[in-house]
Amino acid sequence: MNIETILNKNLINLNMQANTKDEAIKELTDLLYKAGNVKDGEAFIKDVYNREAEGKTGLGNHIAIPHGKSDAVNVTSIAVGRTKNDLIWESYDNLPVHVVILFAVRNVDKTTVHLKLLSQVAIALSDEEIFDKLLTTNDKGEVIYLLSNKIQ
């Protein structure tokens, strides 16, 4: 399977301006909207916050994985953003978040291929060794590589 179907360089911003969680989710949603993967940003963000209400999406170590399953999603995909600013985000270690990996999931996905890819990106995120690299690299290609190295 090919990571490009869910994550590409147009969906990565390593210099986000966001100062808050809300602004980060908005900036990443804008990337998904411009790519045509999300058709209604406001509706999508509402669904992301519905998920936020159900439990922490901060993974610790400055990384967060908000996600929304939504009718507003055209293409199941991932946007990745990083900011030097400290984002306050619910997590077990209460460290500020700098890397946000936003999963956008179609409410009804006709194929499971994209969901399978998302689950394999999640597996890559179980390896904390990649966190330091995600926090420091300036190469979007490396971000894609790090998140896709468990894809079979």
């Binding site: 998920r51 159900e54 439990g55 922490k56 993974l59 610790g60 994985i65 996600h67 399953k69 077990y92 270690d93 999963f103 999931v105 499971t112 969901l115 399978k116 998302l118 689950s119 394999q120 990106v121 999640a122 597996i123 995120l125 179980s126 390896d127």
Partner: protein, 103 residues
């Protein structure tokens, strides 16, 4: 020990799979055999076999939501936690199980 379990989070998109991976790595690192079934948005994967359930010493349910097939574990020792606990301290969870459940 022979460990089996289920991972399932609310959305079934990410935490389910991180939890499975963390549990598997932590258990194998300490010399255990482990099989984790995932119940996610994609459906059930790596479904536990009757044999795996039969020979298991303990069942770990890393779940934030209702799961299918809980009745398969009748009579088994069950440790139920949230996916969050597993994601942040899988190693400690396995150690705790070793100390409290005699195989």
């Amino acid at each position: 020990m022979n460990i089996i379990g289920i991972a399932a989070c609310v959305a079934g998109i990410a935490h389910t799979y991180i939890a499975k991976e963390k549990l598997t790595k932590a258990a194998e690192k300490r010399g255990h055999t482990i099989h984790i079934e995932t119940q996610g948005q994609i459906g059930t994967e790596d479904e536990l076999t009757d044999e795996q359930i039969k020979i298991s010493d303990v069942v770990i349910l890393a779940v934030d939501t209702s799961i299918k097939g809980r009745d398969r574990f009748a009579g088994k020792k069950i440790v139920e936690v949230s996916t969050e606990v597993v994601i942040h301290s899988a190693g400690n969870l396995i150690k705790h199980i070793e100390e409290n459940i005699k195989a």
